[in-house]
């Protein structure tokens, strides 16, 4: 019996998959490594671990005030502390899709597939807008 030939997967999907795979690995590894250093005490937290149970049940606005946590990208400056170092890995995970979309742009541009080129740029724009910190809720 002749089995049907497997369908060819589009070049952009394979490229997207490659970037996604590596980005997710790096993000997860960074988050877990930093977290291990944090909870083992190697990297001290900005908010001491022992104080967290008194804070994590508070509403966000009250938590931010009592822990003096900055909004937006202010956490980057605090990445020397264990709790914020772990956020770096999480931020990588949340940014992987931008890298993937950017990687497939040249494929759509070369084809040319203007509609999907624009859709990719729009998707990147939405993610960058979300990450920009421009859109914040004032408490």
């Amino acid at each position: 019996m002749n089995l049907p030939e497997r369908p060819v997967v589009a070049e952009e999907q394979l490229r997207y998959a490659r970037v996604l795979e590596w980005g997710a690995r790096i993000g997860l590894a960074a988050a877990v490594a930093a977290f291990a250093l944090y909870v083992s005490g190697v990297l001290p937290g900005r908010v001491p671990l022992e104080e967290l149970p008194a804070l994590w049940s508070l509403p966000l606005a009250e938590y931010l005030q009592r822990s003096a946590t900055p909004l937006g990208w202010g956490w980057v400056k605090l990445a020397i502390y264990g709790d914020f170092a772990s956020i770096v890995g999480i931020a990588i995970l949340a940014s992987v899709s931008v890298a993937c979309l950017a990687a497939v742009l040249p494929v759509y541009a070369r084809r040319p597939d203007r509609v999907y080129l624009v859709l990719c740029i729009l998707a990147i724009g939405v993610l960058v807008l979300a990450a920009s910190g421009i859109l914040v809720v004032k408490h």
């Binding site: 795979e21 877990v32 671990l49 956490w75 993610l127 979300a130």
Partner: protein, 327 residues
Amino acid sequence: MTDPNRPRRCRVPTALPAVAIVVVALSMVACAPDAMAADVPDVGAGLAWWVWPLALFVVCFALGIVAVPAGVGGGVLFVPIVGGFFPFHLDFVRGAGLLVALASALAAGPNLLRVGLADLRLALPLAVLASASSIVGALVGLALPSAMVQTALGITILAIVALMASAKKSEFPEVAAPDRLSAALAIHGVFHDVARGENIHWQVRRTPLGLVLFTGIGVLAGMFGLGAGWANVPVLNLVMGAPLKVSAGTSSFILSLVDSSAAWVYLNQGAVLAIIAVPSVAGMMLGARIGARLLTVLKASVVRRLVLVLLTVAGLRALLKGLGIWI
């Protein structure tokens, strides 16, 4: 010669969660005596700080095991259960819930794309709208009073239970002709169905309606941190007519974009606590791996019923907590 479309075995991602768990668990256990000796202030149940992330890891591991055979994403289980029965504020639970759903989607994405079960042409138009609306949902969710969000979450979870219990699935929906928009965007494809041993050609219908529904789904995903596979799959499969496997694969891929946008809003608002997010992500990912292996052993219908009961209890708990009846 190697087949470029053949899913490759990835040893690092499969090993990484396991290594991660061991490292995290050992770290927490290693510092536990210090924590106990430090005379920790009794808050909530009066337990030391490290008990909660450890419990969170164990619970998420268990949720990850049942999520795969039940055919649901981790986020929809995580938020109501952890929000209802752990001492963390719902704002932080929703932030972690989005990351749980995001990490699962990112981990599954590469293979789904390589075998054609996630389709970029189908996903992109829907994901652009859904990720934009998820930002709105996240901002609204963080601005509303907690009790209101908790009540709305309870109602949403109970509605999801009703949807999951009643929704039919169509493995290969009949789409006689594509709609004009999907034809213009060339949204169609072919995938190899291993079970049938044949290539399945597919096309979609009602794309404008799909776009509207995905905009609404994005708002809910951002507002409650639920992920949205429970809604994505029925819309792709039943409304738009994509085959069930393509719907499930593409849904997971769309989640990776939608949850990234919403997760950034929570990150920038300071609503992501590493102590909650990292054990949850690690536990859920390891559990999901075990769940995938148990897929052939466990009876999916029984697990699905168990999950529906769990979700009903968690949904009622969220509703009653929001209404101030069961704090």
